[in-house]
């Protein structure tokens, strides 16, 4: 397993798109910190990058990579190797190299300009999101044989998590305006890793606005040990469940 992981990582790290992604992140975060006169504004712009660009690049790149390595995966499967270890190596390889790209591109500038709790939270959340969307991409690709279909599904999943889900939440709020929705909202947010990540960062960033009654409910929850444990476990489940399910499917998949 270690061996395949090593080959996947070296292969991805030589990939031009990953290089471009890293350089883009680096340029974006440096310019964001350099141009904005206060660095907390820079963090906000970076937040958008983390919440939108990172999931998009990760899910699409991972799907394309897996489809492009279909024959290679076939070759590996015909070798005396466990299918599960092939699949997990592929996942860990993708996750590790894309997280590394994120860390170099966005993490290091953040560490330079904002070496505080907000910065650390941001890096941690960015890396978690990277891994989550690799995991989701694995799920999408194992289910769709057709490349175009699979990449389409990946884009739809991204669109769903970054836009449609929130639209749905907003709709829900309008519909149930007469009920106390704060607590259900916390539960609902667990169903969207992007929302959960956003809330985790915002609780550190926009303290004043979050201290309103509603915000206080969120802060009371997410600020406590239980809340943080809840968020981290939810995010980890977003990694474990798709990977586990995809690995299970891959185990009996016809190649």
């Amino acid at each position: 397993m270690k061996k395949i992981f090593k080959y996947v990582v070296t292969d991805i790290l030589r990939n031009k798109i990953v290089l471009i992604y890293t350089v883009f992140l680096l340029a974006a975060s440096l310019s964001v910190f350099g141009l904005e006169d206060n660095s907390s504004k820079g963090l906000l712009s970076l937040l958008n990058i983390i919440l939108i660009i990172v999931p998009l690049v990760n899910i699409i790149f991972s799907s394309i990579y897996i489809y492009n390595s279909a024959e290679f995966i076939e070759l590996l499967v015909s070798q005396p190797l466990k299918r599960k270890s092939i699949w997990l190596s592929l996942f860990t390889g993708l996750a590790a190299s894309l997280s590394l790209a994120f860390f170099i591109g966005a993490g290091i500038p953040v560490l330079i300009f904002q070496p505080n709790t907000i910065g650390f939270t941001m890096i941690a959340v960015g890396i978690l999101l990277s891994i989550i969307f690799v995991a989701i991409a694995m799920l999408a690709t194992v289910n769709a044989r057709d490349k175009a279909k699979g990449i389409g599904a990946a884009i739809m999943i991204w669109l769903y998590f970054s836009l449609l889900f929130d639209g749905f939440v907003l709709f829900l709020l309008f519909q149930f305006a007469d009920y106390p929705m704060e607590k259900p909202m916390i539960a609902i947010s667990a169903f969207n890793p992007i929302d959960l990540s956003r809330i985790l960062i915002l609780l550190q960033l926009d303290v004043s606005a979050m201290m309103g009654y509603t915000g206080a409910v969120f802060k009371d929850f997410f600020g406590t040990f239980t809340g943080i444990a809840f968020s981290i476990i939810s995010l980890l489940l977003w990694i474990v469940l798709p990977v586990w399910y995809a690995a299970h499917k891959f185990n009996t998949k016809d190649l």
Partner: protein, 415 residues
Amino acid sequence: MGGYAEMKIIFFILSMFYYCTCIAKTIPVGSSRKYKTITAGIEASVAGDTVLVDAGNYKEKNLVIKKSIVLKGINYPVLDGEKKYEIISVKADAVVIDGFRIVHSGISSLQDLSGIKVYDSRDAVIKNNILENTFFGIYIQNGLNCTIENNRLTASSTEEQQSGNGIHCWKSDSLRIINNKITGHRDGIYFEFVKNSIIWRNTSAQNIRYGLHFMFSNNDMYVSNIFTNNGSGVSVMFSNKIRMFSNYFEENWGDASHGILLKEISDGDMEGNYFAKNTSAIYMEGANRIFMKHNTFENNGWALKIQASCMEVVLERNNFIGNTFDVGTNGSLVLNKFKNNYWDKYEGYDLNKDKIGDIPYRPVSMYSMIVEKYPPAMILFRSFITSLLDKTEKILPSLTPENLKDNAPLMKKAF
């Protein structure tokens, strides 16, 4: 500062006046003196005398002063109310209480037991006292031309019912509340039916409810006070002609908490105030003809929550910096005016280089309207969909009030 110097001179002349006109004598009180208790000392005095109290512990139940005397402590003698009594009751004009440590007044839900209470008198001066764990601190009831200066009031109750107000003024006229520090009370400073008074350079912090609470009090002015970290900020209600200059409102956090709440206020004037890190810096309801200039709003959740019931509120040359939302409102009717303010979120341009933006700024975002109506929508804060909504709304306004805009926003900070 000039005003302070002048004040000092006036005080000086006033005290000279006292010494010259009265043939005043000094009555010392203390364990080694002729009068062992303050009660005895006061008994022996006549109007115009000074009762000088040595340091020590005095448990005199309720001290009632019915003569115009000066009661002065040396090295803060302690007056202990044993958690049962009102400690000093002033029932004569021109009484001076200076330099005591007043502790443990009684707590009662029927009477407003206080550290020092002034009843129906004029010209009282209460200064340089330390009040600790009193129910009400200094209470002026029906006073005229009284001065409360340099006192330090601390209470440590955590429940509203167990705590009275720090400086409580009721139905009074021409008061001066200067340089007091109040913490841990229910309201730091409370005004009800008080007119023509000034509140100057006080610090009111960590009080359970309001740092300053104004009701039915007209023609008052407060200047250079600091209000931080109070349960619900500052509340000014049902009053006219209030002037507020150069005050600090900071870190008032919570849903019902505001830097300052203005309710049913008319003809107010707010200048040079500084609002930072409040959940909402100013919440206005039924406010009319308020003129706001040169105020700074920094890092607040909402800089301004202005309900549709407000009229003719004018905002001119204020700075809005780093606020999550600049303005929130609940209706579409806008009878207020925004002009020449600096908004850090302004994305317009200035082609003719007159330092005024060429397109109007709309400080109300669609999302802030949604949050106003559906508070749990806060969970979508800074999500892709809400910024998308805001951008769409900027191009095609439909939900946000059409007239709520600054037609001439500044390109650089107003001051």
